[in-house]
Amino acid sequence: MTDNYNAYLNTTEIPGTGSGILKGIRVSIKDNISTKDIETTCASKILKGYIPPYDAHVITLLKAAGATIAGKTNMDEFGMGSTTENSAFGPALNPRDLTRVTGGSSGGSAAAVSAGLVPMALGSDTGGSIRCPAAWCGIVGLKPSYGRVSRFGLIAYANSFEQIGPMAANVRDAAKLFSVIAGHDKKDSTSVSRPYDGNVVADIKGKIIGIPKEYFAEGVDKDVAASVREAIGKLEELGAKTTEISLPSMKYALPAYYVTCTCEASSNLDRFDGVRYGPGPETNLPWHEAYTKVREAGFGPEVKRRILLGTFALSAGYYGKYYVKAQHAKQLIAKDFARALKTCDLLAGPTMPNVAPKIGELTVDPLLMYQTDILTVPVNIAGIPAISVPCKTAHGLPVGLQLMGRMFGEESLLNAALAFEEAV
């Protein structure tokens, strides 16, 4: 396999053990998902050389279904980023335009599928990390409902938001991969018993689609908006009814997301001190000093920034101002979605506010990078599922139509996405 996109951190061809529906199908894995005996780094220097002694639950399921584990894919370090430029091993390149980013953080998985190196891949989505690169590389990506896929063996960054999900060249393949990974796992206490039968059928007729006006607000590229409006028009032609709605609390979504995820990161990444895995601290130094040196050398700038922001937001005097307020904002946002999805079957809008930027364009300012997540983080906050499916290009580059659904309503999302895909 020739990788011209820096999509892979490690290439493997490990055949599955079972003979299920993925028999002989090559599936690539984001490098924050633990794979027994295969190096798993989260694209971080602090985990260079780490060989997990066990498989993530999703990997056990893939192997049993017959899938070949075809390599570990590049990503933003620990999933922290929206372009895959925060990888310690260099950015992944967008197969649709090599001067542009793939999106992130599951950029290597998206590039591998987009370039046709594999038909499907696993990503993980904390605030858009499956849907963003799917949109910018022109593939399908599904963020499942929180709890539908086991997180056992997913190296945690912000565990109250993240889900593992399928990325594929088309809706049928995404549905097939999702049917293998969905279901209960007692090793993840947030896991629920909602398996998916993989029976995807084009179905959109008579559905009511809410169009949140906030998804077409200032900051969304005009050509991207036009492409998505045209896609929604296509859904209407197929028999869907549309209605404009509002999610008034969305203005709090991005700060609520970044406060919560940085707080969780500051705690989750505490374990990386080099002792049990990683480069090893200088054992003759006092422990604060030894860990400080390991973490300074091992973490990249964005990871340090997020750990520091989280430590700050949780520190005495600031906890009430940031973390507590963020939890209230999350509740308001979740209620906005619940209200909208009482009357609507689905919500639709763009996945990303723009097309894939040039390499280096967003890394100049972290806040600028955070703001590109404005249309993807709300569903992670609400815990609901969302899918990005390619629609008409803008500026010659891929655009994603984002469909958002009711909690555990992946069936409707996949069926609607298939109806759209077959019609265009």
Partner: protein
């Protein structure tokens, strides 16, 4: 406005070393990000937080787990079945 000395204190709490050039840059970025977070302060709390989560308990049964050898495989310098760590005292 967060000062460089506060960022340095936070870095000490988080056991992350940062260099002098990094400190100035981080402080500047910190302030613009925190300013953006301040919209949360305009949020009026009118209802209490709902906590829909319940504990998931299981029987405390002995099941297969990692061997000592596997558990130590990735540690920097294991010795006699133990992990070697920096001195605490």
């Amino acid at each position: 406005m967060v000062k460089e000395s506060e960022v340095l204190h936070i870095a000490e709490l988080a056991d992350i070393g940062i260099s002098s050039p990094e400190l100035g840059k981080f402080t500047e970025q910190f302030n613009s990000i925190i300013e953006y977070f301040d919209i949360l302060d305009t949020l009026e709390i009118t209802e209490s937080l709902e906590r829909p989560l319940v504990n998931v308990f299981r029987e405390d049964e002995i099941t297969p787990c990692l061997s000592q050898e596997d558990a130590l495989k990735n540690s920097h310098a294991p010795e006699d079945g133990y992990i070697r760590a920096p001195k605490v005292i």
